[in-house]
Symmetry: C2
Subunit: 134 residues, 2 copies
């Protein structure tokens, strides 16, 4: 069911400094920063030949990732995003298996303007999984 | 400098159960388990169209990932691995930038039989980065 790894998301305390590390010492191509107010984050994408790394910092104290940084001030890996063909079918299959979908189960619009859902990390070995319909 | 995302590694408390979640509800292709005694882990690879997810459990209490599970008993994301063409040149560039390489800076042999090094997570926003020469 899951297809490509769309991206890995990493929460960072200072987006400009993090972007400079990926474009400098790591020598990758990094996009311009963009605010995603619906998600409470500002992000850049590190463009790799086969996938992307999403670096994100909170837009404000109410950001969903502000709590993550409060626990892990240095930042850390936040989630992985897998592509699916049909997000409603994917959700139904996951829920039938006993996995929990965060929120009310209605897909939201993700960073790429596509429908997304998040799965409960407790059901996947502590890993927060986003699924995105492409 | 960094090329493809080779894999994302996730530490899991029960490899067979985790493999079943990825092959079942998530519907992915999962390799047979293999022990990597040099790394103190047993792993399976979730084969995605563009990259791999490495699920790993400790081989024994002395495993480098046993401490991770002691802190996070449910498991969690552990590291990301980027491909590089020349690991010695990559190491020298990173060290020159002030980044710390774990161990004595001599590449070890990774899960795929290739030279690998790990970078200090404090230098990369709390994210443990493996680089692998391909």
């Amino acid at each position: 069911m899951i297809g490509r790894l769309n991206h890995v998301a990493i929460v960072v305390p200072d987006l400009a400094a993090a972007a400079a590390r990926y474009s400098g010492p790591l020598g990758a191509t990094v996009s311009a920063p963009q605010a995603l107010p619906d998600h409470g984050v500002r992000v850049v994408f590190v463009e790799l030949p086969n996938t992307k790394i999403e670096l994100m910092e909170p837009l404000d104290d109410g950001s969903p990732v502000a709590g993550f940084l409060a626990k892990s001030p240095s930042g850390g890996m936040h989630h992985v995003c897998y592509e699916v063909d049909d997000i409603a079918a994917a959700r139904d299959r996951l829920v039938a298996s006993g996995a929990r979908v965060l929120g009310d189960g209605t897909p939201k619009t993700g960073a790429h303007g596509k429908p997304v859902l998040f799965l409960h990390p407790k059901d996947f070995d502590g890993c927060l999984i986003e699924i995105e319909q492409v």
